[in-house]
């Protein structure tokens, strides 16, 4: 099965925490299977074993043997549970402390919305805030402290290859430290039921070498560059005069909407609508015109634009790299 090694599996860890939990999971599954078969074996023998005629009446030892067996089984179960508790505790300790705050921890604020993810990189040195949506880029080998918040209902961040879940709860700020050991794209579907489009609310965690991350970061924190060619320039005017700026921001233009994803570097992202469709020109056009057909119930209204305006708008949006 191809997806056994896929980008959203507990059993294909890409981080020390996920690796520790995967080892725990494999141990649990093996242990559980062994106990299951053992109990079923005893059960099968207990009903299938050959019986002598009238043995119950003549053989007092039967009751005694039952007592011994049940007591031994109970004692063993208690010991095994204690052992499991210990294994669980040491894994928990390992996961919790392995990557606590270090000096070069990257701080990222992750804010849940119905049904998309707002991402803000916090830097003590730079007052400029890097805002993006539905994608977190992280440098390989460096701890990333996620601060988890929600603007509406409860969501949950879960990149199974990297770590377990942590909820985004309105009124609370959660914290989760993740770290990727190898480059890769790890899918993080929302893991707390959050309403109509819970199924289509995925985040991509993109782990890349430090140099690549630095390049991405430098580009992403800059404002959008004013387009050079006339079609794209006209598209920018379409963006600013249509309904778009009420909700969206493209840094470097007069748009300042905050209720929807920041589009400053839209073209650099891999997906649209929180992991729902690929970020290609045609898909983008379809999304702008008919977002309710693609993701019914989401907050984006359909946009009726003349064909030429739509083409110009797309010409502009694809330049936002």
């Amino acid at each position: 099965m191809a997806f056994l090694q896929g980008a959203h599996s507990v059993l294909a860890p890409a981080s020390p925490q996920a690796a520790a939990i995967a080892r725990l999971a494999e141990f649990f599954i093996g242990f559980g299977a062994f106990i299951w078969l053992l109990v079923l074996g005893f059960l099968a023998y207990s009903v299938l074993r050959p019986r002598r005629l009238g043995e119950r009446d003549e053989d007092r030892r039967i009751t005694h043997r039952q007592l011994v067996l049940v007591s031994v089984a109970l004692g063993l179960s208690t010991l095994l549970l204690l052992g499991l508790g210990f294994v669980d505790y040491s894994t928990g300790k390992h996961v919790e402390t392995a990557y606590s705050k270090s000096a070069d921890t990257l701080h990222v604020r992750l804010i849940g919305h119905q049904w998309w993810w707002e991402v803000q990189y916090e830097s003590p040195h730079n007052p400029q805030l890097l805002k993006t949506a539905n994608e977190i880029h992280i440098p390989v080998g460096r701890p990333v402290l996620l601060r988890l918040e929600s603007r509406d209902v409860i969501h949950s961040f879960w990149a199974p290859n990297l770590h377990g879940k942590s909820d985004l709860i309105p009124g609370y700020t959660g914290e989760l430290t993740i770290q990727a050991d190898r480059p890769g794209i790890f899918r993080a579907p929302c893991a707390e039921y959050c309403g109509a489009q819970h199924a289509k609310m995925a985040l991509l965690v993109i782990a890349e070498p430090a140099a690549d991350f630095a390049t991405w970061y430098a580009n992403e924190i800059s404002n959008a560059v004013a387009p050079a060619d006339p079609a794209a320039t006209r598209g920018r005017a379409v963006f600013l005069t249509a309904a778009c700026p009420f909700c969206h921001t493209i840094r470097g233009t007069e748009s300042a909407g905050v209720v929807a994803p920041d589009l400053t570097h839209l073209a650099s992202r891999q997906t649209l609508a929180a992991g729902t469709i690929p970020n290609r020109r045609g898909d983008l056009g379809g999304w702008i015109v008919d977002p309710q057909g693609i993701k019914p119930g989401n907050q984006m209204p359909p946009n009726v634009l003349p064909a030429k305006d739509l083409e110009a708008l797309l010409d502009y949006l694809v330049t936002l790299r």
């Binding site: 959203h8 559980g32 207990s46 119905q114």
Partner: protein, 624 residues
């Protein structure tokens, strides 16, 4: 001196119910009310099953659009609510209502009119939930209705109101049943049935009833808070205005985890009886099983936070709930080992109910072990809210409760109808249910570990989840076929099954000492109990000691002491009444109106109280 035949006729007349539709509306006989609970619960099982099959059909392939996202979400919310509140608990309690008086040797429950009221409230509440679905107001926020998703801001429909009030309906109903059964079990046991001779099913119902009283109090508080938030803008769960979204989760799971054991414990009681009867052996470890049942009931109130490991609570606190969640498996292990020991030393009879017991072991032990895994915080953080948990909970609830329930329906069927169910159809049903259950829910564990979250109405083809989902959908249809065969068996055998006689299985408890079906007053004479297995008493039934001296022409019976069941006094029970029904209707009108206006409280009270007064009016102008 009247003859025995005349005595039976007098007794039947005293305890009987009027014939025809009037009798149907006025009956307070625990047997008919219990069967109604079971029948209605099976009806809701069918509805919940149809919802499940529709969802499975949608999930069979990636990106299919049989249901809109909104409708799919309502379907899984309604499925969970139906199975937990409208099927599983009422079915188990219904079995308790039917069996408890027969097993403890009495003629009816202590509050028969309250029981009739409880049934009507339950029926109306269940239908009310589905009236929401057909009017586009199905519950949209899951069977757990987490705030703030279930608050007005995010659910402007009436769906969450209807959900909260349905919960209120079932709370009222189950509380009434629980109180009735507790008092009946503690005060109406046949003389001689001391605490250490109570049948294990009755023990399980006693513990479950106490759990219902405490757990339903919690959910009643929670659902009231939610309804108040939605109706009159209280701010219990609104973080923006001083409330707390997490409070709901604590209240809900403080009820929600005991709820699982409210369903599971009666099933363990059933298994104890099936194991005893079909291994021809008194239960090994009766006392440990009783203590295990009580311990489970208590510990189950201390594990709720394991549903909340991902909410960011402090690590040390979580450790406590890991420990309690591991400890709660020990009493269940005790029961498992005692059942195996009993089968070991007995002579297994390969009848259909025993097959269901073996299926129960196969699936429940697996579900229990995955439950132990989920008690671990690191593992749970990965598995939580994925299909792993869906697989686990259906193993525990279907394997742990539905299999025993199916076994129980076939086992006590001859008692209730006087006819034997078909053995062949029973074997077919078992085979289909067993294969269907494993095919549907075993692959889910794997899917969860491969990243499939719960409560998604569809998934992308690129996730690679399509193959296993298709397999699960095939399994779900096989499972449904198994339920259909069982129900068909129950219906057809009513007419074609061979006559059962009093005791077709050769069982040990008192319900098998009377006729099948039992007469209106259950027993010709109230038995005196000398042992834990009164029907295995070597004395011939007609030679066993009985209670004499109770008048036959009044609904009179013995109150006995709670510990030793020594006779204390005579009491008289009330007879059939129509007034339970208007009282329930008044309650329903009030609760439904409360969705729209606070005046529902006033109107409901005005409508429900007069019937309550009439029903409780003393018949003889004084105490009975």
């Amino acid at each position: 001196m009247t003859s025995a035949v005349d005595e039976h006729a007098v007794l039947a007349n005293t305890w009987g119910t009027p014939r025809g539709p009037l009798g149907w509306l006025t009956s307070v006989d625990h047997k008919s009310v219990g069967l109604r609970f079971i029948g209605t619960a099976l009806f809701f099982l069918a509805l919940g099953g149809v919802l499940a099959l529709t969802m499975r059909t949608q999930l069979a392939r990636p990106e299919t659009h049989l249901l809109t996202p909104q409708l799919y979400n309502q379907f899984f919310s309604m499925h969970g609510t139906t199975m937990m509140f409208l099927f599983a608990v009422p079915a188990m309690m219904g079995l308790g209502i039917y069996l408890v008086p027969l097993m403890i040797g009495t003629r009816n429950v202590i509050f028969p009119r309250l029981l009739a009221y409880a049934y009507w409230v339950y029926l109306i509440g269940g239908l009310f939930l589905y009236s929401g679905l057909v009017t586009g107001n199905g519950a949209p926020a899951g069977w757990f209705s987490y705030t703030p998703l279930s608050e007005t801001q995010f659910d402007p429909t009436k769906g969450s109101d209807i959900w909260a009030q349905t919960i209120t309906f079932t709370e009222i109903s189950m509380m009434a049943v629980a109180v009735t059964l507790i008092v009946t079990i503690l005060k109406q046991r046949a003389p001689g049935m001391s605490l250490n001779r109570i049948p294990l099913f009755v023990w399980s119902i006693l513990v479950t009833s106490f759990m219902v009283v405490f757990a339903m109090t919690t959910i009643a508080t929670a659902s009231f808070f939610l309804a108040a938030d939605r109706l009159i803008n209280t701010r219990f769960f609104d973080d923006a205005r001083g409330g707390d979204a997490l409070l709901w989760q604590h209240l809900f799971w403080l009820f929600g985890h005991p709820e699982v054991y409210i369903i599971f414990l009666p099933a363990t009681g059933i298994v104890s009886h099936l194991v005893t009867t079909f291994s021809r052996r008194p239960m090994f470890g009766y006392t440990p099983i009783v203590f295990a049942t009580i311990a489970t009931g208590i510990i189950s109130f201390g594990v709720w936070v394991h549903h909340m490991f991902a909410t960011g609570l402090p690590q040390l606190g979580l450790g406590f709930y890991t420990a309690s969640s591991l400890i709660v498996t020990i009493p269940t292990a005790i029961q498992l080992f005692c059942w195996i020991a009993t089968l070991w030393s007995g002579q297994p009879q390969w009848r259909v109910p025993l097959l269901f017991v073996l299926g129960f072991f196969f699936i429940l032990v697996r579900g229990g072990l995955t439950g132990v895994m989920l008690a671990s915080v690191p593992f749970d953080l990965q598995a939580h809210d994925t299909y792993f948990v869906v697989g686990h909970l259906h193993d525990v609830l279907i394997g742990g409760a539905v299999f025993p329930l199916m076994g129980a329906l076939l086992y006590w069927y001859p008692k209730a109808t006087g006819r034997m169910p078909s053995e062949v159809a029973g074997r077919w049903a078992f085979g289909l249910l067993f294969i269907g259950q494993n095919l549907t829910f075993l692959p889910m564990h794997l899917l969860g570990l491969h990243g499939m979250p719960r409560r998604v109405y569809t998934y992308l083809a690129s996730t690679g989840w399509g193959g296993l989902n298709l397999l699960e959908t095939v399994g779900a249809y096989i499972l449904a076929l198994g339920v259909l065969v069982t129900v068909a068996n129950l219906i057809v055998s009513r007419f074609t099954g061979p006559r059962a006689g009093n005791d077709p299985w050769g069982a040990d408890t008192l319900e098998w000492a009377t006729t099948s079906p039992p007469p209106p007053g259950n027993f010709a004479e109230i038995p005196v109990v000398m042992s834990r297995d009164p029907n295995w008493d070597p004395a011939r039934p007609e030679d066993r000691p009985v209670v004499t001296g109770l008048p036959l022409d009044r609904r009179e019976l013995l109150f006995t002491s709670a510990l030793d069941a020594t006779p204390v006094r005579r009491i008289e029970l009330p007879g059939p009444t129509i007034w339970s029904l208007p009282a329930a209707l008044g309650t329903a009108v009030g609760l439904i109106m409360l969705i729209f206006t606070p005046w529902g409280l006033v109107v409901g009270t005005l409508l429900a109280v007069p019937p309550l007064v009439v029903w409780a009016w003393p018949k003889h102008g004084g105490s009975a």
